[in-house]
Each structure stands twice: as C-alpha cells, then as structure tokens.
Symmetry: C2
Subunit: 131 residues, 2 copies
DNA sequence: ATGCGTGCAAACGATTTGCAGAGAA
DNA sequence: TTCTCTGCAAATCGTTTGCACGCAT
C-alpha cells in the first residue's frame, strides 16, 4: 500500500466543475452545480460532478458541509469558513473571522489539534419575506 | 391555519426514545439510538425512532445536525451548536459558546436575523494516531 | 369506543459504484 | 496504444410515508 498519487488528467468536465464551483459565490449543492453546468452547455454527468467534487474535497481544494438532505460544496479558501447564510434565498455572505484564537485554545484544552473549522450562521436576510 | 397543538399521548416508545436521547451524552444517530433501544429490550421500530426524533426537533426539545451520510440528534440545549469533532474517530465534544454576541451583531449589520448557527471545529483528538 | 401512535415494508432522494466506451498522455 | 475519466443506470443508504392494527385516553 504505497502512497500512490492518483493520476490526474485534464478533462473539460473536470475544469467545468471546478470553474462552476468557484463561480458559485458560496455553497452549492451537487445537483444545483450539475444543473448550472447543463444550462451553461456543458453536458456533464451527475455522477462525474459528484466524483469531481469529492476529489476536490479529498485534495483539500474544496469543502463540503452537510445539510439536511445532502451536502453543499464550496471552493476551498484558506483558514476557516465563515458565512452568513439566508435560510430563505440561500444567499451567503462572508463575515469576518471571530475568535480564531479562542477556538484553537479551546480545542487544545480538549487535546484536539485543530485542522479546520466552519462557522455557519443561518438566518433570514432583509430582502426575504418574513415567512 | 390555527396554531393547533398536536395531540400527545404517552407511549412507552416515546418515553424510551426521549430517555435514550437524553442518556446519550452528546450527539447520536437515529440508527445508533434505535440499536441501543433494542439492546435495552425496548422493541421500538426504526420508523418510530425517526418520527419521535423529528417530533422532538419540531417542538424544540431536540436538535439535529447534518453530517455526511445522515444526521445526528441530541437533546436540546439552549443557544447554538458548538462542537469539536475529531476527523479520525468522529468523537464530538461540546465546547463553550464563543462570541454569540459578536455573531448576532455581525449578522444584524448585514440585515440578517439570526435563527441559528453552527460552529464546527475539526481536528484530531489525542486518542487518535497521528495518521 | 375513538383516534393517535406504531410497526412493517415500500417509497424516496441523495450519493456511490460497475462496466464499457471516449479521450488524454 | 494505454490507461484514466466519463456516462449511464443500477445499487446503496439514510430517512420518510402509506396502511392497518393496538393502545392511551
């Protein structure tokens, strides 16, 4: 079991998924990404989208957060992930990082070495009707 | 659409699920909870476990957090969800709430009313081999 | 007795995987 | 040409739901 590095060929689909993920300014579901790709003209299979997305997560170029009914993906950014997500329209806004120090310190206190953290704040933005 | 309060009869299963959820000192999956119930002698159906769990979430007595491959439940606590998850063994530890004030203030500044927030900190706990 | 709650199994929706063909190196 | 990547569709897996019966009220 050698730490063989998987071959990585360049394909249009690979690039398409990567580009669309980056274009999506925030988290996006695999299905949604697939749909956008279609609309855009790139006929990429859903399975490929998933495979590509997972590959990106594996190599650390993307992050996945689980949500009820599936998961959302996002192009990786360094450091933690901090977003303000409107539960209604799905708009995600970046927010400034909070007490990163605090997080690390707390984790270490529990004997855990922090590798990454995600802060998701859900709410309803002003543009959306109040239910 | 009246705020009709659903009937709530007392049943052994209902109590069992509730008790087991409370007994679980942390997050637990529906399947795991179901298994424990079985081991304990309570023959509760998996569907019922789900129904009960969802009901508890609905009335705010439990919280569900989505994880890859499903969701985890936990007896409700006030405030947001904060845990420290070991990426290796999956152990989740509660951590004290950070700057809740900061979060709310930041959100409001963007015109967003916060409904809930989740802070996920990933790392590797001391009990797990360093890769 | 009446109607909610339960159990079973089928239904569902998201994600994964097997296999044969297409394209990158 | 060789071998990885893709597409399609079937297979999985967690979760939900329809239906008939039992039990709490």
């Amino acid at each position: 079991m050698s730490a063989t590095i998987r071959e990585r060929r360049n394909t249009a689909q690979k690039e398409a998924v990567c580009r669309e993920l980056t274009a999506a300014d925030g988290f996006i579901s695999a299905g949604e990404l697939h749909q956008r790709l279609r609309d855009e003209g790139s006929a990429v299979g859903l399975a490929t989208v998933y495979r590509q997305l997972n590959a990106l997560v594996d190599i650390g170029r993307a992050d996945a957060i689980p949500v009820p009914g599936g998961q959302l993906f996002r192009a990786c950014e360094q450091g933690g992930h901090h977003h303000l997500v409107c539960e209604d329209c799905g708009t995600a806004v970046d927010i400034d990082p909070p007490d990163e120090e605090w997080i690390r310190a707390t984790a270490e206190r529990s004997g855990v070495t922090v590798t990454r953290h995600i802060l998701e704040v859900f709410g309803r933005c002003g543009a959306c009707p109040a239910e």
